[in-house]
Amino acid sequence: MKTRDFRTRSGGRINRAQPLRFTFDGKPYVGFMGDTLASALLANGVHLVGRSFKYHRPRGFLGAGADEPNALVGIRRDSARYTPNLLATQVELYEGLEAVSQNRHPSLENDRMAVNDKLLGRFIPAGFYYKTFMWPRGAWDKLYEPRIREAAGLGVAPSMPDTDSYAQRYAHCDVLVIGAGPAGLVAAMEAATSGARVILCDDRAAMGGSLLSAADVTIEGKDSRAWLEERLAILASMPNVTLLPRTVAFGYYPHNWIGLAEKLTDHLPITPTGKPRERLWQVRAKQVVIAAGAIERPLVFPDNDRPGIMLADAARTYLQQYGVAVGRQVVVVAAHDSGYRVAHELKAAGIEVLAIADIRSQSQVADGARRTGFRVLPGATIEGTTGKLRVASITVTAEGRRETFTCDAVLMAGGFTPSVHLFSQSRGKLVWDPDIQAYLPGQSAEAERSAGACRGRFALKDALVDGIDAGRAAAQATGFAPAYDVHYPSATVLHRNGEGGHIGAAPTSLKQVKAKAFVDWQNDVTSNDILLATREGFISIEHVKRYTTTGMATDQGKLSNINALGIVSGATGRAVPEIGLTTFRPPYTPITFGALAGRARGELFDPARVTAIHDWAAEQGAAFENVGNWKRAHYFPRRGEDMHAAVARECRQVRQSVGIFDASTLGKIEVVGPDAAEFMNRFYVNAWTKLGVGKCRYGVLLREDGFVLDDGVVGRIAAERFHITTTTGGAARVLNMMEDYLQTEWPDLKVWLTSTTEQWSVIAVQGPNARAVITPLIDGLDISAEAFPHMSIADARICGVPMRLMRVSFTGELGFEVNVPSGYGAMVWQAIWERGKAFDMAPYGTETMHVLRAEKGFIIIGQETDGTATPDDVGLAWAIGKAKPDFVGKRSLTRPAMVEPDRKQLVGLLTRDPKIILEEGAQLVAPTGPNTSIGHVTSSYHSAVLGKSIALAMVRGGRERMGQTLHVPMPGGSIPVEVVQPVFVDPEGKRVNV
């Protein structure tokens, strides 16, 4: 392969004094500083860069920028840094760059999957998976889907963790200008000179937009290149201007909140350590100017996708910006005058233009072109192309004659589509302009305006005027008066951009097109696919898009949406505005997860809440589990114990002697005030008025729709002070609900709420020896059985510090919960632990806590309840204060469905084989109706104390089924169970009252 066969001798904005070595699919090449990977490959004559998604057709470059659909490559830096699906047209070349093509096996030249195109093509049109590969049943899962999945997809995902770091920044400005082409540059300049704070961003490395490929253009009498350099230097020197190249504005969010993704190091040969790879900017702008330019349209004709068939203006960009000739013998297919400009400029560079096939019957620029010596074929129809890995010829019919041109490049000039993506994301209204045949920005929804080609002002002079007006207006709207009178710069061009354009399929003589005419290159969607969709009744553009997948690839329809609309318009006889338009969604181009995650990775992903006892538990070797953001000790394994053994031992130790448990994570709220009891009565189901000071009650909280939301023991510290506890996960939810009612329903109640969840450490001491352990540590309170019965609460002191003691039990054993200010938590725990050594005290975790409470039939919110359980369902009807006229959820309890007899009710289950432990969530069926689920297992454990398995379940009409045998159907067979009362240990509740 000869290198640099296709580089012009001079010209372009590359640095010819700085050659760069790179590889593509292992082959070495040379390019220059300033090249993209695409321009460097083209300079070396390489057009074949990929195989298409479905048909695996050979593909080359179509464009030169963000609109490229074919040239998706993987870039490898080291074993950890491999990025797939990058556009070669956007990858900046650096020394040592390693790139690989995708979606081909074993190689680009010889791809096995090409059979999809030649042999299977007619079986896999759009939507084929809805109609085929259905038989035999079962073959889809085992045979077809895995193969189709293997054949599909583009890049290979990296397998190593991302070693790069990503930064994030918030910024405020007066005017954000998106796009640094001619319109954006002058807009930024106008705003900046008025004193406004300006941010100007552009997704390319160099700012200038279309000016970067301008030739024979002057602005204010200077060469456009010099004018551009000057403007940029001035902007760079202004302190109120922030220039952000390599920064794509990817999303426009409400209230002028714009997302920008800045690439910082991808263009460097070596990633500097410690530097972020990308920076996410979240910008709040008072005013936005969108100067996003326009995207050229390809033409839809048979076999329009061979390598070497590309967008005309892209070819011009490769020539003028990169000094690259995309071919030696070129045919231009034009529907727009701009095709002629391309022809003129290529010819001036020594490239042979064999013909300009204009699908229009006449245009203003045709005569001028003929006089210059071009062959112009008016009213041309395009019949097809040939070529295997590169286009070899194109056949055109014009003026009654059919002619085939041997060529190595075909350039398509279909016109330009204004880029309205960001405007549309901002929820502005688009308006169809029938003259330009494009959607243009109409009524704005945010403080924003568009300027230049993105609103149909394609000519350079018009773009400059538009940008200046927009910049001035934006600055004025933020309160900055312009520094001087408006002055529109003069501009001259040698070849005008001109007029024209075509949407839909290009004209062809063939009555029925058998060959593939591509509309969406990346998803391999042809004009026939779209016609098929309309024939099958999909006439809404939303349906056509989803059925054919046109516009759904990573390029999001940049080259395909408008032609698809044109084809649907023609096929269904409706004007384009009647067909509708699919929604533009962010991001405009793909952005990395890294940029969005920023520093929120690993330990910084989510806060970890730990209790004052955490370190002690960790030192003891506890295994932890996450409960919301909390870390809770799950179990405390001794040497050689697995979880099962540790839990069995902990359970036995608690019931035989005593255990110590960290209950600090449970929610705590103090409800204080003259109306505290009244509030509690309205809020919880229980009656609170008669609860004596120093007494506790198990509170149940419903939602207004009658379903159990939360539970917890409530203690009355004083007539006007309640100490509420909630579940760990429900603390914030309950407090929020309390505040909601107090602030918005009952504002005249004199009640104040304080969250004390983190203020109290809670040390649960449970077991027959619990009192013996803690009594000597306590000061100022008699905790004997007579003086401090079960469900008492009092404030006193322990180990010399304040304590709130509750005699409560979640285990069914004699139990206490020692509350101390959390700063003293570790110290008091340690003191109790020391006392406990003489009693073989066991620290136990949440798993043991779950088993012990299940043995007693105590429910856990979210385990026995799931948001659809009433108090009666879970056996808590007794808790309701019957005389209360109203409380949250009361009215809902009498709704007809809430009193049906076959509602799921809480029961216990014993497996016939006591060694079998049921799976939580397993379904239950009656032997007479094995295909109908009548309930599910909510909690299931091995009970060490009983030596068998136990379970709790919710079963339809459960309370009527005592003694019945039910089945739990499992893959390995059906498990018979007996329905029993939901309590397994000490059903009379004697042990808690010692």
């Binding site: 409400p254 929820r427 602030q743 709704r895």
Partner: protein, 94 residues
């Protein structure tokens, strides 16, 4: 991220707030006197308009107060914010 004008604290970013559903739905004073249809309507039926929506927000990471707002659901622009107990401001088409 929206900018929300808390009536107590001024303009703050959306991150500091939690949404509170449709506004001006008073809990019936005597639920026991309502039929099932009426009670269901209170529980479940909500306006869901394309246009001005009177709704509640809570400045959970600020003053922690609930307040009312009128937001245009088409553009997410706030037409007004006002305190609990105050009526929908004039000019809002809710």
């Amino acid at each position: 991220m929206l900018v929300i004008n808390c009536p107590y604290c001024g303009e703050r970013p959306e991150l500091e707030f939690s949404y509170g559903g449709q506004a001006h739905i008073a809990r019936p004073l005597k639920p026991a006197e309502l039929g099932d249809e009426e009670w269901n309507a209170y529980l479940y039926l909500r306006a869901n308009p394309k246009g001005h929506h009177a709704e509640r927000w809570r400045h959970i990471h600020g003053c922690a107060r609930f307040f009312n707002a009128v937001r245009d659901t088409r553009t997410d622009h706030f037409v007004a914010t006002y305190k609990i107990g105050e009526p929908v401001p004039e000019g809002s088409r809710t």
